[in-house]
């Protein structure tokens, strides 16, 4: 997880949570098989949603998006298989479906953790190169105007 300080929860977040809960509840009531299937397949993402306390939940978002990309085919299979709980359990019984979805979710988590480090390395390298150029320019100026130039830092 990122070490960035967790921002205090924005006001109104509670209301959105209630709306999401209401949507989830409606979904469970209306299409319980699909809800079951998605609940299992997106379980890492839902867990990330609970664990990620960062504003905007960027890790959970990445995990959900990656996991969601591999839920499309199982949901399509459930849709064409009658949308029953048994069918959902049948789809879930295919470990290939769960493994793929959870692996994608893991890849999403991994990217969310790794990419900030990569970007930081790139930024640090760029600034170091710029600082080196500036120091060279400063040394040249000080040499050219020594001893009247202000002392270097």
């Amino acid at each position: 997880m990122s070490k960035v300080a967790v921002q205090p929860k924005a006001r109104g977040g509670g209301g959105l949570m209630w709306l999401q809960g209401l949507a989830c509840g409606a979904m469970v009531a209306l299409v319980p098989a699909i809800a079951l299937l998605l609940g299992v397949l997106l379980a890492p993402g839902l867990a990330a949603l609970m664990l990620d306390r960062q504003p905007g939940r960027p890790i959970a978002r990445s995990v959900l998006l990656c996991g969601g990309a591999f839920c499309i085919r199982p949901v399509g299979a459930l849709w064409s298989g009658g949308q029953s709980v048994d069918a959902a359990l049948g789809v879930l019984g295919d470990l290939n479906n769960i493994g793929t979805a959870w692996s994608a979710a893991a890849a999403g988590w991994f990217m969310a953790e790794l990419l900030p480090l990569v970007v930081r390395v790139v930024l640090e390298a760029a600034d170091a190169a710029r600082a080196a150029r500036l120091r060279a320019a400063r040394a040249k100026l000080m040499e050219e105007w020594e001893p009247h130039a202000p002392p270097g830092q």
Partner: protein, 660 residues
């Protein structure tokens, strides 16, 4: 003997015209100063002589700075200037004609009265008339300085220009009030002093011997003051009647009582002229002041001035007033002295250290209005203060200290106020104030050296760098410094305070501003002013290269070069300065060092560079302190990229599903 242009004249040539042969001295010809044979280069005539001016006894500026037409019966100065080296020092010479024969003192014999009138009195009086017309005096009339070519010819007055007035006169030829002064402090005096000396000369030649010979100067002065000059000189000797009558008047103590030159030139009037002068009342018993037995008030004034300590004790004692009242019948004088003593008692405790000295000076002037200024044992006429100052500055610190107090106290003005009927007190007051102003001027161009050179327009510069190099005018300064440069301390400024004071005294208005700038404490400004001054002198007087002096300046110009802020520019200026110094031209060096446009451009570029540097520093500081910000940005960006990849995967999956 044509010289190539730009080259210096040979050292043995004075004023570019007269060749001096120092191997051929002319004893007895110089009137007290060393004389050497000289030749006029234009005519080839070898009938000239060169008189060597002593270093600390300057020549007479009023006679030399304005060219004089040749005066018949007198060895008129023809030229003056630096000449050959004598005794390791560059000599300064005054050129005049060689005397036509030996001095009359060489074969002293009694002269007949007619010869005295025709061959001595008339020619000398005629020469003095010409001098007086130009407000000049001779002040060196004595048997050793009067020459005669052949018997029967008119005598010729010798030189009196190469030394301070009357400096070499024995006391016998001088009025007692001149003789009692320091030899250098007798001043130009008046033509009456020449008449006095001429009177003594007539007596000497009439007697065939120098009167009062064998007596020291103090004894001569005391005798003259005691008896009067004429009785003291003649005593029981018998003079031709015409000479006796005339000399009696010529030797009057009061110059106003001496016959005029017009009377001396009228032989009939001169022969019949007899002046009765009343000697001062003589006391029945003397008053002893120090070594002097005082018989009259004139001797009293002399004793106080010659021996100030016992003189002051006598003034404050109880014996003087009775002696004055009863001994010499000077009751009113005694009352005035008592008044002054009371005034002095009121001043006691004011903290002035010279109260008693001032009191003695005033009392002497009151007792004898003919007496010169006496100041703590230093006796002089105010117009002779310059040469006294010169000699004291070189050799007599005690006298110099007294002269300093004399100037600070403006004693000359007070002395003049005591004898208003005899001097022009306004001009002396002005002079006293001016001297004090010079003395109190701060910085290297003021103080004692400034007074020294202002009072002595022909005194050579006494700086250690210029000493012995005959630096008498501004034009001599650059060459002297060039000669001194190889052995000089390169860390010291080329113009030391003595030289600055000398230049300040000799400068014109154009140079005054730069000389005043030498008073500032900023060494850079001082160095620029010195360079400008010497460059101006080089352009004005002698454009020959001065590589030694220029190199000296080049060594000193580090702080001036440092004013350029750009390192490359500094290196360029230093290199250019080195090449200019090698060429020995000071003005281009000044132009290089004092280039306002270049300095302003350099300063502007330095400001731009400083701004750029500040910007760089700011950016570096931002980079150094930007770690947390970069971390936040990196986290956000990385997470957004991850989310973007997830979204792309989701979109791809949807599209693929939609496409079947």
């Amino acid at each position: 003997m044509a010289m190539p242009p730009g080259s210096a004249p040979p050292a043995e040539i004075v004023a570019g015209l007269f060749v001096v042969d120092t191997s051929n001295p002319l004893p007895l010809a110089g009137g007290g100063v060393p004389a050497f044979a000289a030749t006029d280069r234009r005519t080839g005539r070898a009938d000239k002589m060169a008189l060597l001016v002593a270093t600390h006894a300057p020549a007479r500026p009023r006679h030399l700075q304005v060219p004089l037409n040749p005066i018949e019966g007198m060895l008129t100065p023809l030229a003056h200037g630096k000449g050959p080296v004598i005794g390791g020092e560059t000599g300064y010479f005054v050129i005049c004609n060689r005397p036509p024969g030996p001095p009359v003192s060489a074969t002293l014999r009694p002269w007949p009265e007619s010869a005295l009138f025709d061959q001595v009195l008339r020619p000398i009086a005629q020469a003095l008339v010409v001098l007086r017309a130009q407000s000049l005096t001779h002040r060196a009339i004595r048997a050793e300085n009067v020459f005669q070519g052949q018997a029967g010819q008119p005598v010729v007055l010798g030189s009196a220009w190469a030394a301070p007035p009357a400096m070499h006169q024995p006391a016998v030829y001088e009025p007692p009030y001149s003789a009692m002064c320091l030899p250098t402090g007798r001043g130009d005096g008046s033509i009456g002093d020449d008449v006095y000396a001429l009177g003594v000369l007539l007596i000497t030649l009439a007697l065939g011997r120098v009167p009062m010979a064998g007596q020291d100067n103090a004894a001569v002065i005391r005798r003259k003051l005691e008896l009067g000059s004429y009785p003291a000189l003649v005593g029981d000797d018998r003079l031709p009647p015409g000479i006796a009558d005339l000399a009696g008047g010529m030797l009057a103590e009061d110059p106003d009582h001496r016959p005029s030159l017009k009377i001396l030139l009228d032989l009939v009037a001169a022969r019949g002229r007899k002046v009765a002068t009343r000697p001062p009342q003589r006391a029945q018993r003397p008053l002893q002041i120090g070594q002097t037995a005082v018989w009259n008030v004139r001797m009293l004034a002399y004793a106080i001035s010659a021996e100030p300590e016992p003189g002051l004790q006598m003034l404050f004692g109880a014996t003087l007033m009775p002696w004055l009242r009863r001994g010499v019948g000077a009751a009113s004088l005694a009352a005035r002295i008592e008044e002054m003593l009371r005034a002095r008692a009121d001043k006691a405790g004011t903290g002035e250290t010279f109260v008693d000295t001032m009191l003695a000076m005033q009392i002497v002037a009151m007792i004898d209005p003919l007496a010169p200024l006496c100041w703590d044992g230093v006796t002089l006429w105010p117009d002779g203060i310059g040469p006294v100052f010169a000699l004291a500055h070189a050799r007599d610190p005690a006298t110099l200290a007294k002269l300093e107090v004399l100037i600070v106290s403006e004693a000359i003005a007070i002395w003049a106020s005591m004898r208003e009927e005899r001097d022009d007190p306004a001009s002396l007051r002005l002079a006293a104030r001016t001297y004090r102003g010079w003395l109190q001027t701060r910085g290297p161009s003021g103080g004692l050296p400034r007074v020294l050179y202002m009072l002595n327009p022909m005194l050579p510069c006494g700086s250690a760098l210029a000493a012995g190099r005959g630096v008498v005018t501004l034009s001599d300064v650059p060459a002297a410094l060039e000669a001194a440069a190889p052995a000089a301390d390169r860390a010291a400024e080329p113009l030391d305070p003595h030289t600055v004071a000398f230049m300040g005294a000799r400068s014109d208005r154009r140079l005054t501003m730069d000389i005043n700038a030498l008073n500032v404490g900023d060494p850079e400004t001082r160095l620029i002013s010195q360079l400008r001054l010497l460059g101006e002198l080089q352009i004005r007087f002698d454009p020959r290269p001065l590589p030694g002096l220029a190199g000296w300046f080049a060594v000193q110009t580090g702080p001036l070069i440092a004013r350029w802020k750009n390192r490359d520019r500094r290196a360029q200026v230093a290199a250019r300065l080195t090449s200019l110094a090698a060429a020995g031209q000071l003005a281009p060096m000044l132009a290089l060092l004092e280039d306002p446009a270049a300095l302003a451009a350099d300063s502007e570029a330095a400001d731009l560079a400083a701004a750029k540097l500040a910007r760089i520093e700011g950016e570096l500081a931002a980079i150094d302190s930007g770690g947390p910000t970069r971390a936040v940005v990196a986290t956000r960006t990385g997470q957004e990229i991850a989310a973007g990849i997830g979204l792309a995967a989701l979109a791809t999956a949807l599209i693929l599903t939609a496409l079947g």
